[in-house]
Amino acid sequence: MPAAWLSAELAIQASYFVTAGLFILGLKRMSSPVTARSGILWAGAGMLVATLITFLYPGMSNYELILPAMLVGGVLAWWSGKRVAMTNMPQMIALYNGMGGGAAAAIAAVELYRGAASGYVTDSLAVAGGIIGAVSFAGSAIAFGKLQGLITRSIRFGGQQLLNLLILAAALALGVLVAGRIDAAPAAVTGLFVLALVLGVAMTLPIGGADMPVVISLYNALTGLAVGLEGFVLNNAAMIIAGTVVGSAGTLLTQLMAKAMNRSLGNVLFSGFGDTGGAATGEVSGSLKPIEAADVGVMLAFASKVIVVPGYGMAVAQAQHKIWELCQLLIDRGVNVRFAIHPVAGRMPGHMNVLLAEAGVPYDLISDLEEINAEFDTADVALIIGANDVVNPVARTDKSSPIYGMPILNADKAKNVIVIKRGKGAGFSGIENALFYLDNTRMLYGDAQKVGAELIQAVKAVG
């Protein structure tokens, strides 16, 4: 039935075209807060269309394998995606992204083992996509392991970058052998993928957990590129466009993220700064002055303006709900409460916004750095909850400090500063915080969630 064949082919091509358009529009919408939510719906519709129409692919067999594979992968991902806590999002994204890279590598492997590709160029693209996909697969798995706390040590040694370079060179050499049809034996293909997987692991192990969001974004871009390359191999337009668009958008996003953290990409990949090693510790004189929750409760209850500065500590303590409950009490008492969000507070971009949104804090109480910084000197209390680096005045003054030059929240300008943290733990950068030693600063020690509950009691006790 050539006619039916032709019409199936046409339907597939047309659907892929629509899918590509929906993906682009979806990404566009996702990049603006007003339309972001509809963006994922558009992209999702595109994915649905493309997946369903692919069952019509002429001459396809093995449905008895395809359907179970889709079912198993899909159900597991659905289940895990629904359950994961908001704070664990980065590693979950890493996991799903790695799966995509693995799939691209699998496509390359099938094509290369089969010897199905139709020429040097196509073979080269298959090899390139395969290597990139496998690196992204293994690297994302390591990133997941680190963020999930399964891998706690960052393995580093002299000459590490050189070793990685050698692995890469070996993989490329094998790739030339395979794509150039000099030695396309299954063993060569297998060796190629093994080397690529090793490279992914070796590249990612030395990078500290806190730098992972940037690295995950990079692997995300790489997976996109791999998918695009395999799309050329399979002559699949939807894969070509979607993969290339993500490869390009992901590269830009990686740069933007690194920039928002005041880092360069090279620095993230090759310097291993992302561990709280406490390398640089500046000298700060003065003493830490503790305070009790009951006293802070009174201070807050009778303040006219309170600015809350949440940080990484609030995230790990999952204290956002308690803090919002506290703030609601204050608002009911007529206190003017604001939240000040530093762009890199927490451990992933937009971390604090996501958490506060989850707890139900209305957006108009949340201000970013530029908006709020002029207001600190009109605040009676700056309530620092598990934040450290983002309020460290050293960033303004000490040129030798690793955070020098980063814009910070001017919490030190408030009449009173209350800092909630568990003890003397340093922040992400591992340096001392001069703010804690100021005359108008008091330390309220304890886990942010526990302290939050105590403060609620204290404010209620004021009556």
């Binding site: 994922i40 629904k82 994961v84 399979l234």
Partner: protein, 105 residues
């Protein structure tokens, strides 16, 4: 598809991807990373085609893994992105206020 045309498509798609997200605010970095992660889940259709044409047991095993992984990428990417962006909805008005220039499109 000739090589030249492939190059053009590559160039244009790259420009499009770059420009489309060039104005993303910091608060959307993580959801957008997740969203673009979902988009390359389209690798699923390629994996389906590859498995659909597999013959030897080895090819079938790899193809099976490919489809499984790709389905995980697509479904998982969708679920977490949707969950994250869902939360932006609740504060719609505020979000609008915080995005000057967003209305230029």
């Amino acid at each position: 598809m000739t090589g030249m045309v492939a190059l053009y498509i590559f160039m244009l798609a790259a420009f499009t991807g770059y420009e489309v997200i060039a104005r993303v605010p910091v608060i959307l970095h993580t959801p957008l990373m997740s969203g673009s992660n979902f988009v390359h889940g389209i690798v699923l259709v390629g994996a389906m085609v590859a498995l659909g044409a597999a013959h030897t047991p080895l090819e079938k095993i790899i193809g099976f893994l490919g489809v499984l992984l790709a389905a995980g990428n697509a479904v998982g990417g969708y679920v977490v992105t949707e969950r994250m962006l869902e939360m932006f909805k609740a504060s719609g008005q505020g979000a609008k206020r915080r995005a000057p220039g967003a209305e230029t499109h």
